[in-house]
Amino acid sequence: MLWMLRQKLTVQAYQTILNSEMNLDTKSAEKLQCTNYLPFLNTTDVHSIIGTQFSTYDIDAEQSDSLHKSIQQFWLWTAWQYRYQQWNFSLTTETSWRSDKQNAYSTIGNECMILAYIGYELNPAWDLIFLGGYEQRHMVEK
């Protein structure tokens, strides 16, 4: 299976890929999260997967006059892997958008991240993994 995915899932603590996940809070904190991972393009040399997530959550604090926010977030993640002999080349992209429901769905921020992984298999027991990329955050002033 995808080497890069193992890397991603290690970040997520070796959890299995969740194709559909729902997390509902039943008390004061209103939060809904739905995550999907699907195989996207798989050939002999190239493997890829696409992930989406939609979440809403409310932040409400009695001790602050202004901190009553209802945030929506959409998250898109793709992963691509190519393996050549003992080398693994992987690329992941992450993009997310946020909006505040209380402000007529105006966009208040978006983020973009691109990460490239280069892994080298020293032997069956050891792998070295170098990763590098860029992160960009953008906020919209009202």
């Binding site: 299995t16 969740l18 991972y37 699907l38 009695e62 602050s64 027991a125 860029y134």
Partner: protein, 161 residues
């Protein structure tokens, strides 16, 4: 644009032990302690940490108990610079928020057929702390959220080898 770099090493001395260390994952490990029992943990230098124990009852059924801890930080632009507190006609504006959430839950994982699985679980969000900071990074306010139960179900189509 903010550059990101990291270096990881993955070491699997046997089929019963997997280790990953470096940055951003400081240490992640999964150890098959007994024939059907797995113990795992992960610690990231940034935002998340967790540990779990999983018992495989058969080839198609397993149960697990997990702990998650996550630290979230948002600056004021995230909230359109509108985070403030009115106190005796004096308005204080906050510049960032830090939110620490602990979570425990248990789940049952079922393998339906081949690469398709299903899991269902329930958990508890422990009382969490939220801190607000001003320009000098001094904590101006501390907020505790309510604790609450949650349910979780998932359908899994891709299985890791």
């Amino acid at each position: 644009m903010q550059p990101l770099f990291g270096l990881q090493a993955r070491y699997q001395p046997s089929s019963r032990l997997k280790l990953l260390f470096g940055v951003p994952v400081v240490l992640a490990a999964e150890w098959t302690a007994c024939e059907n029992t797995d113990i795992g943990m992960e610690f990231l230098y940034t935002t998340e940490s967790l540990c779990y124990i999983r018992q495989r009852l058969s080839n198609s059924v397993s149960i697990s108990a997990q702990y998650h801890g996550s630290l979230n930080n948002s600056d004021a632009t995230y909230f359109e610079n509108s985070i403030y507190h009115q106190d005796n006609n004096h308005q204080i504006t906050y510049n960032n928020i830090t939110f620490l959430q602990h979570q425990i839950f248990a789940s049952i994982d079922l393998k339906l057929y081949k690469d398709v699985g299903f899991s269902i679980g329930a958990g508890y969000n422990l009382r969490s702390n939220m801190s607000l900071y001003n320009n000098t990074n001094k904590v101006l306010d501390g907020i505790k959220s309510s604790d609450n139960f949650f349910i979780n179900c998932s359908l899994q189509f891709v299985r890791l080898q």
